[in-house]
């Protein structure tokens, strides 16, 4: 007998199996996209510090690979959403994947901007303190990005939440870096154009840290279902409820006053 009858339990199991394989594939693709960006951070930093124009060009061209993979993952997410109509945790995992793709892809763009900046200041000789701070910002951004992906892979909400505080280190370095650029420009080591480009480059690293924090926030949502915006939304709801209550009270009071003033005439 040909095995082709309707077997709801088995069909359901197979569907679930395929669905979970799709989720695993999605997660693996996100990890791969993030790995490409995590590698770009030290690679781009080296381009900047060594004036390596050839490598800069390669990184700029490789951005197309990143973009293609990002589009592929996003399409896959929409496909799964449309066909499987997931619920609860699975739905959050897919929504998170869609948000993560844009955060990761944007971080890759920022490293491409670093390389473009390196080309614009080619030949500028910036002092060791500025170079040291660029090196440190690169290390810190790499660390944050790696930890954000660790949190995603391990479904680690605590680590994801801690990223916001960890980012303070990178913010501090960015502040020192801007100060060092001012000092360097003041001492005549770099011209204004190079100073502006260097300041922009510092901003790119700082933004990568922010994207890592955003990844953490999204991972926290995936694991717990909570977003920082929920607090804001709850506050808004509470405010609206309070305003409605006050309004009601006010209306009641004015109603009572009207009835008091009406009494003599009616009585």
């Amino acid at each position: 007998m040909k095995a082709s009858g309707f077997r709801p339990e088995r069909d359901m199991q197979e569907q679930r199996k395929t669905f979970h394989q799709e989720l695993e594939q999605m997660s693996a693709d996100i990890v791969r996209l993030a790995a490409m960006v995590t590698e770009l951070i030290p690679r781009g930093t080296e381009v900047l510090l060594t004036n390596d124009l050839r490598e800069a060009q390669e990184i700029i061209e490789d951005d197309d690979v990143l973009d293609a993979l990002a589009v592929q993952i996003e399409d896959h997410c929409y496909h799964v959403l449309a066909l499987q109509q997931p619920m609860a945790g699975d739905l959050r995992a897919i929504v998170t994947a869609i948000r993560l793709v844009s955060e990761i892809e944007r971080s890759g763009d920022l490293m491409v901007n670093v390389c473009k900046g390196a080309r614009r200041i080619y030949g500028a000789n910036f002092d060791p303190k500025v170079r040291g701070l660029i090196e440190q910002m690169g290390e810190e951004a790499t660390k944050l990005f790696r930890l954000a992906i660790d949190a995603y892979v391990e479904h680690n909400a605590s680590l994801a939440t801690a990223l916001d505080d960890m980012d303070d280190q990178l913010d501090g370095l960015h502040k020192d870096y801007i100060q060092a650029i001012f000092e360097s420009h003041h001492a005549g080591s770099i011209d204004l154009q190079a100073a502006v480009q260097l300041a922009l480059i510092g901003r790119y690293y700082e933004r990568i840290g922010d994207h890592a924090v955003n990844i953490g926030t999204r991972v926290e949502y995936m694991v717990t279902g909570w977003l920082p915006e929920h607090s804001g939304a709850a506050r808004l709801q509470a405010r609206a409820a309070m305003e409605a209550a006050t309004q009601r009270e006010h209306e009641e009071q004015s109603g009572e006053t009207e009835s008091h003033t009406d009494n003599p005439t009616t009585g």
Binding site: A34, M36, T38, P42, E46, P128, V130, E139
Partner: protein, 391 residues
């Protein structure tokens, strides 16, 4: 009666025949069961042998330092050794290796060898070469991928390549300058210019002489010649090295601060070599510090070792060069090294001296903030008090 007897006989005969047949069948069945049992035993023995063989092969694959993955024509993994399994489900840079292996295997299933080099910036930095080769097993096409971590090989190649380039540069440059200066001197009539040229020749000759001296010193240390061992008070080693560097430091406007000379510490080693090693560290610190900055020296006890640290607040070393500064003739900044002088062998000599004393050297540095080099040398246990007592 007779009929009854005949019937009984026939029945008895029938029963007899039936019994014989049953007995025969039973024997046949028993033989069949025995044969089946032997078959089961054989199959079981074969399964055990195959399992042992599989385990042996698995262990052999796991012992291979390279990652090995074998997939069949359906893309199912047949073999994946431990090293290769390390890349499976990996994250960060290693995830790119896994993706590259999958892509190359897909290519190789079409019948061509595929190779790719993946450079991972880490940290740590790694270079992985992946080769996927199509092979045929029992008329089925399979693909074998080999993942080879060539980081150490690449590093050694870079060290050798740079050494040859640097040594020829360090020796050829002053010799070329000497030739040109001598040629100009021969054609010069003005005594003042001739004087200047002669002074330049002297400087260049001194420079090449210094390089050769350092090379000979390094060669002596490298030859494994055991240093003479004596119990040395650490403060003597530190003070002598500091006194040797002080004139150069004062000339450069740099203050050498002795935070702790390790007065009650002792170590076992060769006095001349150890002072030379510490002097080299101080010399570097002074050369790469800015005017009016300080260089700090301090000795302390750390478990069974004595640590002597030299800290400067100079230009620092980029992270990517930290692992290479102890190589012979390695320069972080060629242009600056030429201005500051030196042979490019100082740190290499330090590393070999420390190695000869079964010690270690550490370096921590930040660009623009400075560097700390720490010598870790085995302490001379139990003799500190004696030395202190004998004054």
């Amino acid at each position: 009666m007779t009929i009854a007897l005949v019937v009984v006989v026939i029945v008895a005969l029938g029963l007899g025949v039936a019994l014989v047949v049953v007995a025969g069948r039973r024997r046949g069945l028993q033989a069949e069961v025995a044969r089946l049992e032997r078959g089961i035993d054989d199959a079981s023995a074969r399964t055990t042998a195959l399992e042992a063989e599989r385990l042996r092969l698995e262990r052999a694959f796991d012992a291979i330092p390279q990652g090995v993955v074998l997939v069949d024509d359906q893309g199912e993994v047949v073999v994946r050794n431990t090293t290769a399994a390390g890349f499976s489900g990996a994250r960060h840079g290693e995830a790119l290796v896994e993706a590259a292996v999958a892509e190359l295997m897909t290519d190789a299933l079409k019948g061509r060898v595929a190779t790719r080099t993946v450079d991972l910036f880490g940290p740590p930095r790694r270079t992985v070469v992946i080769t996927a080769t199509p092979i045929s097993v029992a008329e089925r096409r399979c693909v074998l991928a080999v993942i080879d971590d060539v980081s150490e090989r690449r590093r050694l190649e870079a060290v050798r390549r740079d050494f040859v380039a640097n040594i020829s540069h360090e020796l050829k440059t002053p010799v070329g300058a000497l030739g040109l200066l001598a040629e100009t001197l021969l054609a010069e009539d003005d005594p003042a210019v001739a004087q200047r040229l002669a002074e330049r020749i002297q400087t260049e000759a001194f420079r090449v002489g210094h390089t050769i001296e350092d090379l000979l010193e390094l060669s002596r240390i490298e030859s494994g010649e055991l240093p003479s061992r004596e119990v040395l008070p650490v403060h003597v080693v530190v003070s002598e090295a500091v006194e040797r560097i002080r004139p150069a430091a004062e000339q450069a406007g740099i203050v050498v601060e002795l935070s702790d000379s390790g007065r009650d510490l002792t170590l076992l080693g060769d006095r001349r070599q150890l002072i030379s090693a510490l002097y080299n560290l101080l010399d570097n610190a002074v050369k790469y510090s800015d005017e009016e900055s300080t260089v700090e020296v301090g000795a302390s006890r750390a478990g069974e070792s004595v640590e002597i640290a030299v800290t400067d607040h100079g230009i620092g070393i980029p992270v990517r060069d930290l692992g290479r500064v102890f190589e012979r003739f390695y320069r972080v900044d060629q242009a600056r090294s030429r201005r500051t002088g030196g042979t490019g062998l100082g740190l290499s000599i330090v590393r070999h001296v420390v190695g000869n004393h079964h010690g270690d050297i550490r370096v921590e540095s930040r660009l623009g903030e400075g560097s700390t080099f720490t010598l870790c040398l085995p302490a001379a246990a139990g003799v500190a008090d004696e030395i202190a007592a004998t004054g």
